[in-house]
Each structure stands twice: as structure tokens, then as C-alpha cells.
Symmetry: C2
Subunit: 223 residues, 2 copies
């Protein structure tokens, strides 16, 4: 069985876990905190990042969440999440990059730094200015998600795709860290409630980061 | 004909231009400085980043360099640069991400900030500590490139691939900005000399960023 090296609040691992859930691919989670810099982990992945998907039978490690998602799309045909014509696939991949890079850099990464790493690793108080800025940026991204789900059936087009999974993965980590204010974002909120109710999402909502409990609304499907 | 919105030192556009060169895809360059925040550009790409590949006939914009490369790989069959088995393709994509994200964040982005943006936009002197740190990080990445081309024929495996193009794109921008010291990196240097001699590389070596001339060795194929 695949071994997934990750920690509960890694948004890129969450995207991958949603994909594996949608495709019914079994895996076991191996806890890895990349900031600890474990030698064995860096040997598997010179980028030093989660997720790493390891095949114990072949002693083979797959690295980089987008590369792993493409691999699973190519090797497991059921429930394709990067389907359609070439332009439709390009649109899905554009949005995956937008959430993996822009949403992550603007919102998820500062929240992880201020509310997770400072609390659990650095033992420092969060910087309230950085938190305010991240939440302001979150509003801009939620505006764009509002627009996307207002003009198409799903985030990436007419069907559920990796764009929805990448978006939900970032939003869920930001929400866990108290960085999402849904006020004025009814369309995005409605879409996220649908995503939360999917069976693929349940394992993520049940999982907690040690020493860092989520807010009460986090795991509620209708909140 | 495709229109490529970019500026001369965008490493992600360089990767795409190398791919289009290898695949003999014609395009014209439209100069775009993303830091100017032009409305029309943000409307084409809400991520606000180069490259954008625009099809004037269909009024359709493709965004995100990896999404565009996948699109061209899917739609233009000649000279595939993400070929092989699924694990080989995963390895190519892992390395593209490593150069696009780790090399870029550690080396290219600080060099662009200190030596291009501060000179041309912010009118500030560069921070020598940040430059030293970027060049130190470059040595670590060059060590890894040494190892890669020492253990396989090309960066991503037994054939030229997008991993070589992504790596050469980042190295070339860092080299333009004086951030590459080849001392102790003979394998990487040999590989880069081969890359520089390819016809797909010539247009990049001839192009200059206004107000920021490259060092004399930059465009020499054997330097």
C-alpha cells in the first residue's frame, strides 16, 4: 500500500489526499514534519517538502504534489480529475497553480507560519499585522472563487476537477487556522459546503494537528 | 501566431520559450513587466505573472508556465519533452517543480529582486547579504545538478526533457545576473554548455534586459 509522508495541515498533501479519496486509492499516512529536516526525508525528497508518496514494494518515492497528481491521473483511470479537451485541461491546471502558489503564498503560508509554526516550533506569539494582511488577501481570493462558481458549475469548469480539490485544500487549512471569514462570500461558502460533504473530505476534517485544535465550526459540514 | 507576454529575465517564460523552440512553435514576444500591474494583463491572468500565451485568433489566453507546457505537450506531438513511462514522467515533473520552485525561491528570485528590481524599479542599492545568501544557495543547487548529470545522461533521465529546459531557464537568468560561480561544478558546467549550444537557446542569449547588461561571458557558448 502507498505510504503518504505528510502532516495534518499540509495543503498540498490535502489536495493529493482528496484526489486519492475521489479515485479510491488506498494509502497509509506516515507523519512527517518537514521543518525537522530529517535526513531520511531529505534523501527521499531533495526539495524537503511534503507530500511524498512512497511505494514500499518498489522502494520508489514520488515527490511534488502536482507531479504525483499527474502520475495518479495517468495510472488510475477511474474518476479523472484533469479531464476534457486540452484547453479545458489547461484551465484546470492554471487554477491548480493559482491555488497552490498564489493562494498559498498570500494566505495559507503566512497563516501556517504565524499560527502553527510560531506556536508549535518557534514558541513565539503571532504577528497580528501579518495575520490581518493574510485575511485581507483571503478576501480577494474568495472574491475570485465567488466569481468562478458563479459563472461555471465547478471551480475548474463543468465537472468536479483537481481545481476544486486544490482550492478546497488551501481553504480548509486556512479555515482550520481561523483565517477564513465567509461574510460576503455566499457563492464560495456554498461551494465549500458541497466539497466538505464529499466522502473524500471526511478523513481530513476528522484529523487534528497536535497542540493546535481547530475552531468549532471547522468540521461542521453546514458551517 | 501565438503572442507570448513576457520580459527578458522571466525564468518561467524562458522554460516555455525553450520548449517552443525545441518543438518549432512560432510565436511573437509582447513585452510585459508584471510589476507594473497593467489592468489588461491582470484581466488575462488573475495570478499577475508571466508568461501568458495568447491566441489572437480565438482571443484565448493560456496562463501558468507548467499548465502551458502541458498544453503544448498534449497538442504538439513532435519532440516530446515529457516522454517515457508514468514514473519517468513523474521524475521529469518532480524536477521541473524543483527548479521552478526551490531553485527559483532560493536563487533566481532574490537575484531578480536585488539586481533587477532594485536597479530598474525601486532605485535602491542591492543588499549584499541577500546576494551572498543567494549565491551560497546556488552552490547547493549546482551540487545537485552535478549529481544528476553525473548519474544520468540528461537532468531528467536518458533523454532531453522539460527538466533540462526548466533547469537551464533558471540557471540562465541567475547567470545573467552574475549569480553563478561554476568553480567546482564541472559536470553542471558541461551540461549547461551543451544546453547553450542548442538552437532553441540562441534567441534567449541574444536578448537583453533594458538598462541591465549581462556579464561578458553570459552569451558565450563555451564560457
Amino acid at each position: 500500500m502507498w505510504q503518504l509522508f505528510t502532516f495534518p495541515l499540509c495543503p498540498f498533501s490535502r489536495k493529493l489526499r482528496l484526489l486519492m479519496g475521489e479515485k479510491n486509492i488506498a494509502y497509509e499516512v506516515v507523519r512527517e514534519y518537514p521543518w525537522e529536516g530529517r535526513d531520511g526525508f531529505w534523501q527521499m525528497n531533495p526539495a524537503g517538502r511534503t507530500p511524498v508518496l512512497f511505494d514500499p514494494a518498489r522502494r520508489h518515492a514520488l515527490c511534488d504534489s502536482r507531479a504525483i497528481c499527474e502520475f495518479l491521473e495517468e495510472t488510475v483511470e477511474r474518476n479523472p480529475m484533469t479531464g476534457g479537451t486540452a484547453p479545458q485541461r489547461a484551465e484546470i491546471r492554471r487554477l491548480v497553480a493559482l491555488f497552490d502558489e498564489n493562494f498559498y503564498n498570500d494566505v495559507t503560508a503566512p497563516l501556517l507560519h504565524e499560527r502553527m509554526k510560531k506556536r508549535l516550533v518557534l514558541r513565539q506569539p503571532p504577528d497580528s499585522k501579518a495575520l490581518r494582511e493574510a485575511m485581507k488577501m483571503a478576501h480577494g481570493h474568495l472574491d475570485y472563487i465567488d466569481w468562478l462558481v458563479d459563472t461555471r458549475q465547478w471551480v475548474g469548469g463543468s465537472t468536479l476537477s483537481l481545481a476544486d480539490l486544490a482550492c478546497a485544500a488551501q481553504v480548509s487549512v486556512a479555515d482550520y487556522l481561523g483565517g477564513i471569514d465567509w461574510k460576503g462570500h455566499d457563492q464560495a461558502r456554498g461551494w465549500y459546503a458541497v466539497m466538505k460533504s464529499r466522502p473524500s473530505f471526511r478523513p481530513l476534517l476528522a484529523e487534528k494537528m497536535e497542540g493546535l485544535p481547530p475552531p468549532p465550526h471547522y468540521a461542521l459540514v453546514d458551517a
